[in-house]
Amino acid sequence: MKHLLSISDLSHGDALSILDTAHEMARVSSSSVKKLPTLRGRTIVNLFLEDSTRTRISFEAAAKRLSADVINFSAKGSSVSKGESLKDTAQTLQAMGADAVIIRHSASGSAQWLADSHWMSGIVINAGDGTHEHPTQALLDAFTIRRHLGAGSGDLQGLTIAIVGDVLHSRVARSNVLLLSLLGASVVLVAPPTLLPVGVESWPARVSYDFDSVLPEVDAVMMLRVQQERMNDYFFPTAREYSHYFGLNRDRLALMKRSAIIMHPGPMNRGLEITAECADSARSVIVEQVTNGVSVRMAVLYLLLAGLPTEFGGVDA
């Protein structure tokens, strides 16, 4: 694994190794000196061509805790609209000696395209490409599930996870379906048919249109953000009708197992896909997901930039 572009590039062993490394990184983050010298002298570029403060800050914190030099390169909109092609940007970053580029882009496939282009020899990490994938989000979600519901190690065999909402436009859902099923969990997608892609039947997941019937069996429910503008494209009639059938609220909370957790990749539309009551309940691990995001991203940077996972023991001391 040279880059991290898609969960489909990972083996079961790769995924576990990232989660296990993240576990060690979490210990660093909770110690008094939150810093390792591992990536000292390495240059990491945050190439964010689409707005995303959360993910950028998370990667920045992760890189800094590993002592890397971080350059933030942000531009709103597509590369074309800002007048420079991604090719020129890639060549510029290469010329400046970037060891790794973390890319967030509105175009599906842009991370893979950058990695395959030969215009840049550095490592490429996909921080969300259009409606394709967001692999580090899935990894932090799996890490969070494992901490709460697994043994804290191993995979997710025997667990059932519901992913609820706008699956069609969600890179988080695509990466999570691949990763959770890779780790042995059973995945249920819950959404109106309009927000599921044609071809979803080929995914390693079940589909249900009935949220209530799914809730009693799940160990975690992962709510997806629903963009208000989807209403204008006929995906659902009104926000209220959407909330009524697919929103997480107090009544649905009561249908869940006592041990089940509530997740959301953020940012949330409180009142649309999730009520404030659920988001802030004791079952919610939404804030912890953010914390775990830093540990998982540290693990990814460490494994891609610093060498093999077996070397880790020495550094951890």
């Binding site: 882009h105 842009s110 395209w113 071809g199």
Partner: protein, 438 residues
Amino acid sequence: MNSFLLTNATLPGGSASDILIVDGRFAQVAPNLALSQDGTARVLDLTGCVLLPGFVDLHTHLREPGREDAETVASGSRAGAKGGFTALSAMANTFPVADTAGVVEQVFRLGKLCGLLDVFPIGAVTQGIAGKHLAELGAMADSAAHVRVFSDDGNCVFDPMVMRRALEYVKQFGGVIAQHAQEPTLTQGAQMNEGIVSSRLGLKGWPAVAEEAIIARDVLLADHVQSRVHICHLTTAGGVEIVRWAKARGIQVSAEVTPHHLLLTDEKAISFDPIYKVNPPLRTHSDVMALREGLADGTIDIVATDHAPHPNENKECEWQEAAFGMLGLETAYSILQATMIDTKLMGWSDLADRMSTAPARIGGYSQQGQGLTVGGPAHLVAVNPHKSWTVDRDLLQSRSRNTPYHGIELPGQVVATFFNGIPTLLEGELTTEVSAHG
């Protein structure tokens, strides 16, 4: 007297024959002509080659006027000659659009000036290919370019009333509407075939139904007004079924398939390489098989390249930003050999029909597609099915490099092309007279 004697070649029907070309026409087609010659004819030994009537493309983007950075009539003509074509049909979506007699005559004249093959301009159906008001179809038909094929290709003639009127109007001069079948509201922002692959890649889908719904509507309209409709670049199994049904009912419909839709599938998009981004999109394996079957049984009348040149900067970018389209002229024959001949789905006579006779008939190109008949204009292509070649995008005649076959070895080589009895290609190279042009 300008004469050529082609010896030791195989005719489409399978028999061995020599061919004598004198002053631009086929003078004799018979075995062992060499014995009776006086020695003035230039002799070409075509052992191992199959002779076919010059290919006629009904769908070519020559980009001139307006996008001469991508292609010109001259560079497109050279690419055509290289690919065995003796006639191209210049699509109307240029800048300005070919929606007036002035523009179609300009393109026609540029073709004549180049002189490597016939360039037949296609006229726009509507002004500015905007789909609202009919272009001056009569003026284009009456012009020196003698336009008979009209298309808004790139855009669908979506408004059913506009389509109906266009179909009716062209009856007065025996015209045909070539429809780019794409329901626009079902394909807003669409990037690739909608299906299993698009669901995984998160690229917006271009569903088969968006093509089939328009085909179904237009064959019914053509039936209702008793006119002629041609379906551009058919890509779906369902589309083949509709055309088959329409033909069985006696509706005047013809259809084309591109070489790339006979070979490539939507799995190519997994690379996210925009070289595979094309409109209509690459479909699934079962669609490809249905298209091959449809072409073999004649449901699909012709092969058309949809040769769509684009400069590098429109392809070296993110998939969503990239232009739709791929080159086709110089690889068309090889792809047809690979998909239809080598698979035994079609014979050489069928290929001659689908790539020469039928497109000339649909386009009303009376001096093309007459086969290898004595007295007819000597448009001819010699192909060597036993020779393979490796595509190098830097060595193409086109001004653009957007071929999906770069670095790939393809079977079958176009060895010689004759246009009106003049060789434009010999031994796989454009002739020196040809290279001197533009």
